[in-house]
Symmetry: C2
Subunit: 295 residues, 2 copies
């Protein structure tokens, strides 16, 4: 992997550029963003080594093209790039949902005469967006998921680029995991999308209910802060997640609504004990801290 082009130098694209440099990548990293300010920040922060004005021409020159941004922006690029790249090139992405992107990767890429496409998703992010908030450490101890693509014909060069890309990602401090696209979207509906929509709902509700009431804000502690942190997340990204994973998100939301109703109806009955005991059994593996979490 001698040259990289990052299409979309927002939070994740710029963080990937910073992480490549931090891990010792010394070749060119070209960058493009539809917002010239984001691209300028990415350049000034050293995430990219050059700004690109013609992203199509630049894509034809890069070994690896990283598509970064909301899911529909990634899909747009997949359509634009599908016919103009060579089989020795690799396209990969950081999109939050994977079923549609993986289906398009099978349809538009990964076949005779077409470039390779490796659908990817770093389980890293922040409630704030933009190149200014990017940092290499966002990926430390995170999981970077890839969805497997069956039976595709790879050029040896493209196969090598996949290995190279995953080696760099490991050097970012990520754990590389494979997860089938449908399972990815189902799991993410529960562990990522549901928390986001709950946090949005709770933040919107509190804003409606209390406006600027200072006593509410004065007594809100860690619990409130954690539960509303993601309320600051941008619509632009989550619109695409909601559109491309609506069914799984809808199921998860409905299940939670029913569970909350059950708790509400049993605030004074022994059923509440059963809910707490079940919740007490839920365990996540011990956390590995990242610099981002310490903020």
């Amino acid at each position: 992997m001698k040259s990289v082009l990052i299409l979309g130098t927002g939070l994740l694209g710029t963080s990937a550029g910073l992480a490549l440099h931090a891990a010792g990548f010394t070749d060119a990293i070209a960058g493009w963003d539809r917002d010239p300010n984001q691209l300028q920040i990415a350049l000034e922060r050293g995430a990219v080594t050059e700004k690109v004005t013609d992203p199509i021409a630049a894509a034809q020159q890069a070994d690896v093209i990283l598509l970064s941004g909301p899911v529909f922006a990634i899909i747009d690029w997949m359509e634009k790039l599908s016919t103009i790249l060579k089989p020795c090139q690799l396209v990969t992405d950081v999109g939050s949902t994977k079923s549609q992107i993986t289906a398009l990767a099978t349809r538009f890429f990964n076949q005779s005469g077409r470039a390779a496409f490796l659908p990817g998703h770093p389980m890293a992010g922040r409630e704030v967006s933009g190149a200014a908030n990017a940092e290499a450490a966002i990926f430390r101890n995170a999981v970077w998921l890839f969805t497997p693509l069956a039976d595709w014909q790879r050029e040896p060069k493209a196969e090598q680029l996949i290995q190279d890309w995953q080696t760099w990602i490991s050097a970012f401090g990520c754990r590389v995991l494979e997860l089938e696209a449908q399972r990815h979207d189902e799991l993410c509906a529960w562990v990522s999308h549901l928390p986001q929509f709950v946090s949005t709902a709770l933040s919107a509700l509190l804003e409606n209910q209390f406006g600027t009431a200072e006593d509410m804000r004065a007594i809100g502690g860690r619990a409130l802060r954690e539960m509303t942190r993601l309320g600051a997340s941008p619509y632009s990204m989550w619109r695409d997640v909601a559109h491309t994973n609506a069914e799984a998100i809808s199921s998860a939301l409905m299940a939670l609504e029913q569970r909350l109703t059950h708790i509400r109806e049993n605030l004074k009955t022994p059923e509440l004990r059963e809910e707490f005991e079940l919740a007490n059994r839920f365990r996540l593996p011990p956390r590995q801290s990242t610099s981002t979490e310490d903020k």
Copy 2:
């Protein structure tokens, strides 16, 4: 304030003893707990200087009696102590809801011939309970709320003890705030109780849905961790909160259920943008970290 008795040496009671010592209190701190193990841990950790076997007799000797534990345990102690203390003594508490405790404080205390009672509530806690998890730093940068009691007759000694107690609490690193009992319970329903029940619901749901599925746990990141942290909270404490603030909690839960339904029904409509924009406007003041939050 020359002598303190802590009735209930669990997480908050033991933390208060540790905080008193850390802030320079050098007189006796007696302790009692219905669980001898908790009391032994509190003694070994230096939170109390002596173990009490007859809490009623010990209460008659203490300047300040701190009632710590679930709300109904505090209420039990209020009933037991109301007639046996002297007007120069102060009773205070750390109970999570304040309407019932404040009503009883007016009825049983704070009148001619009775001891003073100052209803209090430190907005500090952890999802784990017990003396072993206590620490002085739990109160650093926290708010310690007191509900005002109108028109009560104080002995000068009791008035001095109130000032002393609040001075010590400030020395713990707490901000002392007054909040009327009804408003306290209404606000806490939103900023503390609702987050707890959402976290319990989500944790119970995930435990049901995924059991021990490792792929779900592997990809769960910071968002999931934050949203389920309070799922580990003990039923014993939250049962009393649910019973003594059921109406306000029920209203808050129903409002959130409706909001989640609204989001679910609008995953693909422009209404979703409005929810995100409203949520984006919700802001809490910048966080002041405590050692507990860094864990």
